[in-house]
Symmetry: C2
Subunit: 469 residues, 2 copies
């Protein structure tokens, strides 16, 4: 314990937490991962952080960076050894600069995502990253995990929104790479190496991010579809017809919508007649730089063609903002309504669009052959090739029985993903959860390259041990 | 020489070049860089390349990867030692796969850029990378240098067009990372590490690239402007009004246009009256997913507002494809017409849009103070913050006198770029040309990180020695 006196001297005793005060930092928000730590520290500046990291490097103390603690793979939770220092970046939460003419914003890692969005809006701009945890996750965590969300189709993953970074290395040096440039070819792309490295190569302390114009109008529609193949066909047509104005394309299996309206009786599926029994639905969003009227006219033209050609059974276009919100609310209620199906075995996967229908069909069949009666709970960002492919107990199992089979179900599904050239972690990262899966699915040459980079930048292995590699 | 027998056995004697046959590979296309080599080899497959690299690794033979040999920084030319093997990837030129539904194409490194564009067009898609050398540069070289070009504003640099890579490491291992996924968060972003590393970390042998819908209509306009500040204002308005449909925004100084029409009397500046004497011109391109009529109407609306608000003095909108081509031809003739100004000292720089006017004004002034009478030849991709900022002899010097001052002019300009948080290499890379400038302008922490990565992946320093680092 005496070892902490240096840190208390550096940060003040209010920012070196032990005992019950440290508790909330040692468990993830869902309570799925927990660990122990020698302490939790909250540096108040990049310089303080760098000094603390130097201290850790000197004393060979493992470090676990933490943002909003909202990750889904245990990437910000320490192990059970109690030897690590959890380093929360929550106090590094300044918006350092908004450059309207350059369309950039410089924010510190501890900024809540919603605050970044708001700072952009206050400047008349859009920061497009948007995801369920935006009210509590930090931009540092989004950067560390290369978070996805609902706007990827148009604006890309977090990675694609970053122009520059400030980083504290595992040795406690500060790299100022906060460039606000669209073009810079003066050496290796360290920025992208740090983005998505889940705190295993150092601390991202600030970032220069891209801003975009706010859309003038948005239009939302829900489509009733016969098959995933048809959904992929509509996606192609929508990309052609709307180009970059297509900002959302979500796929939803019928039973997910039914689960939502069962769970939340104030919501309803906006179709009537036989199409309400369609096996698949899609949610489309168009963002227009012109006008409401233009957005709606384009929507009607392109979707009209899709109905005529038989790709779409029926389409409901939101008449106003309230209706549009109701459609999105249906989609966003799925993760909550999922409990109606019982605790499921979850997968966050991506597949090339051209293989998506094949993936769902063959994987569903393989699961039914091995576990007759399990229920498939499938929805996700089809526009990015990203599905949340979940397996619920159905009539086959109790929750406990299903949970016992989780490892083999993961393997069955991930093996299918791998066979179709997909990814076993599309947007949530690796963390602790999927670390041991990587050797089965990653090219050994790629894994060896990752290990060499890790060893080069963090030779003592102090950064976020047990995560990713 | 006996050392080459292994390679001849592996590749056949037609593909191990020495003497005069090797000549064209030992000098860059402009004749600015030349070197010597033990031989030039042209492997016919990735496996052959991997075997040749293993041989080099075993015998500690330095390797210089080469694509179309059209680079501007000497990155593909060997040094004078004669010890290196130049390895041309020109025979790895297959289009391996076009996946229309997934909007991806897999091509080998030796494919000429124009062939990639054509293969995409044949599939009804756009591969947007476009630059002056597209008829002879290879996609491997574009990837190695993270090439820019004229479509960056909308589609990003080469980096942004890549989903997956195949790489041969300096040890001769083959990494198959040819993923066609928009989302993949399963570890470090090795893809972006290789893109832009200029052959110093290994060989990019193939890539999975993004395809886009072909625009339905394009509209081009030339604007007459009072100042760079006004140009930045128009850029802001155009981003707001056109969003992602804005695919080009080039800035041109008046003397560049005058140089073109002097050199090529069949071309003309499309303005009349006093505005023809405007100090700056801009070339805008709008790509529409709807119709010619819609593109034109939007163009007229947004540019009309810019004229009303006084940002734009006058605008000429191309009435048809021929006029549009004529406007672009003016822009594309500038590099050729530059000789009319005498051999100039060139800079490929980027600056945040908000500092662009300040950069040009203060740098011009500093140059005039030190070298009264030099001529400023300035044009470039303002939409990306990228200028080609060139200094011609003017009335101050002969070409030879100016050339003597090249190092100090470079330093003066690059110091200004650095002071305004810009980059001294926006789209051409580092190669040999700017290697020795990096220590002056790069954060030492960043340079040290780059060196550690280089040492980790290429511990014997065999890959493209003398380039970048």
């Amino acid at each position: 314990m005496h070892r902490l006196t240096d840190l208390v001297r550096l940060l003040g005793e209010n920012h070196v937490l032990t005992g019950p005060a440290a508790g909330p930092y040692l468990e993830d928000w869902r309570g799925r991962y927990s660990g122990r730590a020698m302490a939790v520290i909250r540096p108040g500046s990049v310089q303080e952080l760098a000094e603390a990291v130097k201290w850790c490097a000197k004393h060979k103390v493992p470090m676990v960076p933490q943002g909003g603690n909202t990750g889904l793979c245990g990437g910000a939770t320490p192990d059970d050894s109690g030897e690590a220092l959890v380093i929360s970046l929550s106090r590094l939460n300044a918006v350092r600069q908004v450059d309207i003419e350059n369309d950039t914003i410089i924010v510190e890692a501890g900024c809540i995502l919603q605050s970044v969005q708001q700072a952009a809006r206050d400047a008349g701009r859009l920061f497009p990253l948007s995801l369920a945890a935006e009210g509590s996750c930090t931009i540092g965590g989004n950067l560390a995990t290369n978070a996805g969300g609902t706007q990827v189709l148009r604006y890309g993953n977090t990675r694609d929104l970053v122009l520059g970074l400030e980083v504290v290395t595992p040795q406690g040096e500060i790299w100022n790479g906060l460039r606000g440039l669209r073009k810079d070819n003066t050496g290796y792309d360290l920025r992208n190496l740090y983005v998505g490295s889940e705190g295993t190569l150092g601390f991202i302390t600030a970032a220069c991010l891209k801003l975009y114009p706010l859309p003038v109008a948005q239009c939302t529609a829900m489509l009733a579809l016969r098959s995933i193949d048809d959904a992929v066909g509509v996606l192609s047509a929508a990309r052609q017809g709307f180009a970059a104005a297509l900002t959302g394309f979500e796929l939803i299996a019928a039973n997910c919508l039914q689960g939502v309206v069962r769970q939340y009786p104030d919501q309803r599926i906006p179709f009537e007649g036989p199409v309400i029994d369609s096996p698949w639905f899609a949610l489309l969003e168009l963002s227009d730089s012109e006008s409401e009227a233009h957005a709606r006219q384009r929507f009607e033209e392109v979707l009209g063609q899709c109905i005529e050609s038989g790709l779409v059974r029926d389409a409901v276009i939101a008449e106003n903002v309230a209706q549009s919100k109701a459609l999105w609310h249906l989609r966003e209620s799925i993760p909550l309504a999922e409990k109606a199906f019982g605790k499921s075995v979850k997968h966050d996967i991506s597949i090339p669009a051209s293989r998506m229908a094949e993936f769902v069909e063959t994987t569903n069949a393989a699961l039914q052959a091995r576990y007759p009666g399990v229920e498939h709970v499938i929805f996700g960002h089809l526009g990015d090739g990203n599905l949340h492919y979940n397996v619920a107990p159905g009539s086959a199992f109790t929750e406990a029985e299903l949970l016992l089979r989780q490892p083999e179900i993961h393997q069955l599904v991930h093996d299918r993903v791998h066979a179709l050239h997909g990814s076993i972690s599309a947007e949530h990262g690796v963390g602790q959860l999927k670390r041991d899966y990587l050797p089965r699915y990653k090219d050994p040459v790629e894994l060896a390259l990752m290990r060499r980079i890790k060893a080069a930048l963090d030779p003592d292995g102090l950064m976020n041990p047990g995560k990713v590699l």
